[in-house]
Subunit: 454 residues, 2 copies
């Protein structure tokens, strides 16, 4: 082939020239003698017009094309008449007049129409056909935005002097206590999948003071909700020589800035989903759990005096308050009861029942949690014992504290949660390319069982 | 505290001022009445001088300080006399004269001297005390360089128009065949840890054409070598609409460029390890496996005509050749036997026994492998069947090919391997913060057994 492939968004720079483009057929429209093809590549869509008067053979090939066929097209780039310019497409000022069409790979008949603007599928169908549905531009956009959130996070972390680390996910014991842990056959031993990179990021504070990691975390929660997955991507950061107030400033800076950067860079994706950019006031409202509960009681009349945490409807209510009273899509909640928090959480020196912990809520849901940590070796040993856990399971972790650990703390964002909340998706499964839950690893277990039986 | 902490590398900008610094005691030297402290923070070392004539109390505190104690020091930044300037330290033109020392956290007595320039420890000791040894500047430097390699990779991937993706590690079946897979109790089902992100990165080609991911990969290899780990970090990339020659150009570009960027940015670390920057000629020598074997036979007299792959000594030999003949630390080997490669590897159209596969060798060891892939659905189904694997285990993977997959291929670097080879470390375990192998998950299993019994 004499031509080198160009991308669809580059076509307006080639008006009057012969080019080669490649991609997937997104839609075919037959208009009398003309056939129009929308061809998708990684930069967007391009309209191809196939005129039998230009190439009889191309027209005959085009008439057999179906959605998702992979094709290459050679032809001339023509300017579109002004009234036919499509400002929604990067290539919308031009079209490609085909002189040759090469079918690279045929697609089977699709189970549903992929050419529509939005796929209105039930979630199980969306996921049963995941390797197909992720091709839809509106679905792919979720993951473009997700990549951008992570990229923005890393840039902010670098500005803060943090170093990226790569921590293991196979661990010797349940890191945070609790039963919701997956076990592995590890040679002749038992090992576990990390519930979070928590302990490792703390252990690495003495190496770099400030560390961050994009990590997999595993939760064997035996429940199906719209906001939990069995395998999640966590955005984690831990900072040494930092205390509670500065930790709060830092998490709010990181959390708001990364969503702001991603939103500004991808206004088109927010528009596609009909959502606005996050509301970020100069100061994020910051409340203790007690203050939060009082506000909710005042607004709703619900008695929360016995509650140790916020439930989903409380999170929604306090976010409504933050938006109404502070024009903020974010609210920080602090000072959760110590006994509800993991062993490494620092006690509130002003109230032994409470902890120096925090959650960040965004648009009605928790997207971050964290705390100042216990950094004294003996206190940490006592904290482990007081939870009924075995100190000997924490040997390598405790070693980091035996040899001098500064005051430190950190926080952890759920990447799928952040993505879900930013685009206001209905279910967290939409924000993972291949979500894991108790009913599904790619294919539904129930479906596989049926397959096996038949 | 009235002062805000400054970092050690910033102290030369504060000559004549009172400052607060915080960090770990790296060494204490008593010189008559004066005590000198080397204090380490995330930017480097600072010399603190404690003079009883300036502060009796500080001197008394300093006399009790031990390695790895966490301290804050208030004092004045003084210029050092010209002849005492230490050009090896960023703060080497100044010292801090202490007026107040606050002990933030005491360290226990160290099991070995951490103040030396290099830790000459046996590997088991280095790893048994991993949460301590990673603090040593020369060990920490390994991971500074590692973070830089990944950062450079991402920048290059972005330039290539690739999108970062986050793929699951819990999988429904063994992805590459073979027995070396860890199994998980997944609710009431059996699941596995991914041996690589291979299948998922292929499945995401129709979403973004070009994707990359930094992924965990798990290999239950029941052997202990200096170059294998049970959990590794993979740098993976997959590119649609790309064929063999362009894939080779791309992997060589990515592989050499990322090591070049990391080496240039961290000349100090290469110097610390006494290694030179990678030798990168304009054209990386590119050989088929057959050509490679012929060269080795000619050089060594060893008969390799029955061999299907290179063994470690072959890798070393061909790299010697590349260095001598092409002034290259890299050599690309292509066309491995098809039956030795995973099912998704594309056959060589010129020789049905061979495949369109490649390895990149760097300084005597394979650091990358990859191939052009089978992109035709029916061929792929046949390839799976011909390996005796169950097609029904690949439902979601095959779906990506049912609905139109372009010609594509990719490659995968082992991050720990790259780091090891760049710094010429003796064992891959040195290039993972907390390495996993069959004998160890943080603590050695044998040690844990002894603990349990006692």
């Amino acid at each position: 082939m004499k031509n080198k492939r160009i991308l669809s968004d580059d076509t307006p720079n080639h008006v009057g020239s012969e080019v080669l483009i490649s991609g997937w057929v997104r839609a075919r429209r037959d208009h009398g003698k003309l056939i129009f093809l929308d061809v998708r590549d990684r930069t967007g869509l391009l309209q191809v017009v196939v005129n039998p008067a230009v190439s009889e053979k191309s027209h005959s090939t085009a008439s057999t094309l179906r959605s998702e066929d992979v094709i290459s097209v050679i032809g001339n780039i023509n300017k579109r008449p002004d009234k036919l310019i499509n400002t929604k497409m990067k290539s919308g000022s031009v079209e490609l007049e085909a002189t040759e069409i090469i079918v690279e790979q045929k697609a089977e008949t699709l189970p549903f129409d992929m050419g529509v603007e939005s796929l209105h599928l039930e979630l199980p169908t969306l996921l049963d056909y995941r390797s197909l549905t992720i091709r839809h531009p509106k679905i792919a956009a979720i993951f473009t935005l997700q990549a951008e959130i992570v990229d923005a996070f890393r840039k902010i972390a670098e500005e803060l002097g943090s170093t990226e680390v790569f921590v293991p996910t196979i661990v010797a014991s349940s890191t945070e206590g609790g039963a919701d842990v997956f076990s592995i056959d590890y040679y002749s031993h038992k090992a576990y999948l990390a519930q979070s990179p928590q302990l490792y990021k703390q252990m690495l504070v003495p190496m770099f003071e400030r560390v961050h990691t994009i990590a997999h975390a595993y939760r064997a929660e035996p429940s199906v909700t719209t906001r939990h997955l069995s395998e999640v991507t966590q955005i984690d950061m831990e900072l040494g020589f930092m205390e509670f107030d500065e930790l709060l400033d830092t998490l709010e800076h990181v959390g708001t800035k990364m969503l702001q950067i991603a939103s500004e860079k991808h206004k088109d994706i927010l528009e596609m989903y009909g959502v606005s950019a996050p509301l970020i006031p100069a100061h994020i409202p910051r409340l203790t759990l007690k203050e939060t509960q009082d506000i909710i009681t005042k607004r709703t009349g619900r008695d929360l005096s016995k509650e140790q945490d916020l439930n989903p409807e409380d999170e929604i209510e306090i976010c409504k308050w933050a938006k109404e009273e502070h024009a903020s899509d974010f609210v920080t909640i602090t000072h959760f009861p110590l006994k509800k928090k993991p062993f490494y959480t620092h006690v509130d020196p002003k109230n032994k029942e409470l902890s120096l912990s925090y959650d960040l809520l965004f648009r009605g849901r928790e997207v971050l949690s964290g705390s100042q940590r216990v950094n004294d070796y003996k206190e940490l040993v006592n904290a482990i014992k007081s939870r009924g856990m075995n100190v000997s399971n924490f040997g390598m972790y405790l070693q980091a504290f035996q040899y001098g650990m500064p005051k430190e703390g950190g926080f952890s964002f759920g990447l799928e949660r952040l993505t879900m909340q930013l685009l206001e998706l209905g279910n967290i499964r939409e924000a993972a390319v291949y979500p894991r839950d108790m009913e599904r690893v790619d294919e539904r277990f129930s479906k596989k069982e049926i397959k096996k039986k038949s």
